[in-house]
């Protein structure tokens, strides 16, 4: 049993991996799709066997509290800035994510923030900070929802939003939105796998969690992950290292 962030589930990768995992290892993975914070909380309570999220600081804090055994990086994808196709803030003309953010703030273009302490939200806040902008005002809408719901809101408001590429590509309600900015390495988004600490919760299936970890870091997983494409775009880059 694995709790994962919504952005991972929305990417559609899970639907590719799960049947293969079942085939190769015999483990029937049950996915709980929740926010990053909730995913970690479920792990801390011992209600799942492992967690797959992307929010480094929170993960390390979680480990420090003795909730898990270790952190294993699996893969990364990247964030993109999605906005009105007309790009009123001209973010496409910038080369750095921070500049793009600064332009959005300058032009007071509507911006939807996840506002839910998720990995994406933390990334967004970090970007505002390095852009030297204190995001506030009518144009800045903190919605407090999951990735998909936030995208729906942005679509409804014709607003900019920071999204992970996978969620965006899989998103069905694109309305008038398009990617306006992408490619800055500072937008990389690292996913990590964290097994729950069996010393704290003796009932967790540590063995299965270990097996799953082995599989996720295997060449077989690499092929599948890197081969997963939507609209001819590769979404994830496998970067697991040997222990």
């Amino acid at each position: 049993r694995l709790s994962v962030t919504t952005s991972f589930a929305n990417s559609g990768l899970a639907e590719v991996l799960l049947p293969e995992i079942q085939k190769d290892t015999g483990i029937a993975v049950e996915l709980l799709i929740v926010g990053t914070g909730q995913a970690l909380a479920l792990g801390a309570a011992g209600d799942v066997d492992a967690v797959l999220v992307h929010s480094r600081a929170a993960e390390e804090k979680w480990l420090a509290e003795g909730n898990g055994t270790h952190r294993r990086e699996i893969m990364y994808n990247d964030f993109v800035i999605v906005g009105p196709a007309a790009d009123p803030a001209a973010t496409a003309q910038t080369s750095l994510a921070t500049e793009a953010f600064a332009k959005i703030a300058d032009t007071q273009s509507a911006f939807v923030s996840r506002g839910d302490d998720s990995g994406t939200h933390k990334m967004e806040l970090a970007l505002w900070a390095s852009a030297g902008v204190e995001p506030a005002g009518d144009w800045y809408r903190a919605v407090g929802q999951g990735m998909g719901a936030a995208l729906n809101t942005a679509a409804g408001m014709d607003a900019y939003i920071l999204a992970d590429r996978a969620s965006w590509l899989n998103f069905g309600n694109k309305a008038g939105l398009a990617i306006t900015f992408e490619g800055d390495p500072s937008l990389f988004n690292q996913y990590a796998y964290l097994p729950v600490n069996p010393a704290k919760h003796p009932h967790v299936k540590a063995e299965a969690a270990q097996k799953l970890e082995d599989w996720l870091t295997s060449p077989r997983a690499k092929d599948l992950i890197e081969g997963y494409k939507i609209a001819d775009q590769q979404l994830f880059v496998f970067n697991a290292t040997d222990k």
Binding site: V34, A41, D116, R141, G156, M157
Partner: protein
């Protein structure tokens, strides 16, 4: 378990310190839900009475439909309202999406069937009592409905309160059409969903307890107000 205790103490703390954010979202919750309840009652109560008073071919079918609509999934209602009011939808020009007005509209759709259905049941009993008399007195259809609504007002309060209860606790629809935007459309339930997503279970429960307290207070208030004019029989 701890979370629950923590939630209770956090709730007490928020209330005692009169937390500004809490006051804001609670006020919006009440405003949206009471607004929706009033509008839905204005539609649903006469509709329930109308269904009790009229015999027509499809009556049983309409009533079954109404009962089924009590179960309208909020998410679906939210989606439909979203589609209708989104920029590309037919009412997009009104620019109501992500405003409290849109939330009220969604809630009205959700709770009108509940109010109408519970009202219909109450009025049906009263109509069984009054039937012969009102027919004999040659009351028009409108007069019958008005008489039943007035004489059954105590039971109809339960109908409206059922609607209010559903509205104040609802989250699926208003999340979609309101967007849970901070300082604009965030209400208690969407705030709870947010805290839950963050894994802040204590805070989520605290807000939940505040919500329950608000609902209890509204119910008690209405009951005690109506008590002053209660009939002598009960």
């Amino acid at each position: 378990m701890n979370d629950i205790l923590q939630g209770l103490s956090q709730a007490a703390q928020l209330v005692i310190t009169g937390d500004a954010d809490l006051v804001e979202i609670t006020a919006l919750s009440l405003q949206v839900s009471l607004g929706a309840t009033v509008i839905a009652s204005v539609i649903g109560l006469p509709l329930g009475a109308w269904l009790a008073v009229n015999r027509f071919r499809a009556r049983r079918f309409v009533i079954a439909l109404l009962n089924a609509f009590m179960g309208l999934p909020p998410v679906v209602v939210g989606l439909i309202v979203y589609v209708l009011f989104s920029r590309s939808g037919p009412f997009g020009v009104l620019g109501l999406l992500f405003t409290p007005t849109a939330m009220v509209i969604a809630q009205v759709i959700i709770i009108t069937p509940i109010i109408a259905s519970v009202a219909h049941q109450a009025i049906r009993e009263l109509w069984a009592d009054y039937h012969d008399l009102l027919i004999s007195l040659n009351a028009t259809r409108g007069q019958r409905i008005r008489t039943l609504l007035w004489d059954g007002r105590r039971a109809l309060m339960t109908a409206s309160l059922a609607g209010f209860g559903r509205a104040i606790g609802e989250v699926g629809a208003i999340m979609i059409v309101g967007g849970n935007i901070d300082h604009a459309t965030r209400v208690l339930t969407t705030a709870i969903a947010l805290e839950t997503g963050k894994g802040e279970f204590g805070m989520a429960l605290a807000l939940g307890f505040v919500l329950i307290a608000v609902a209890v207070l509204v119910n008690l208030g209405v009951h005690f107000l109506s008590r002053t004019e209660r009939g002598s029989r009960w």
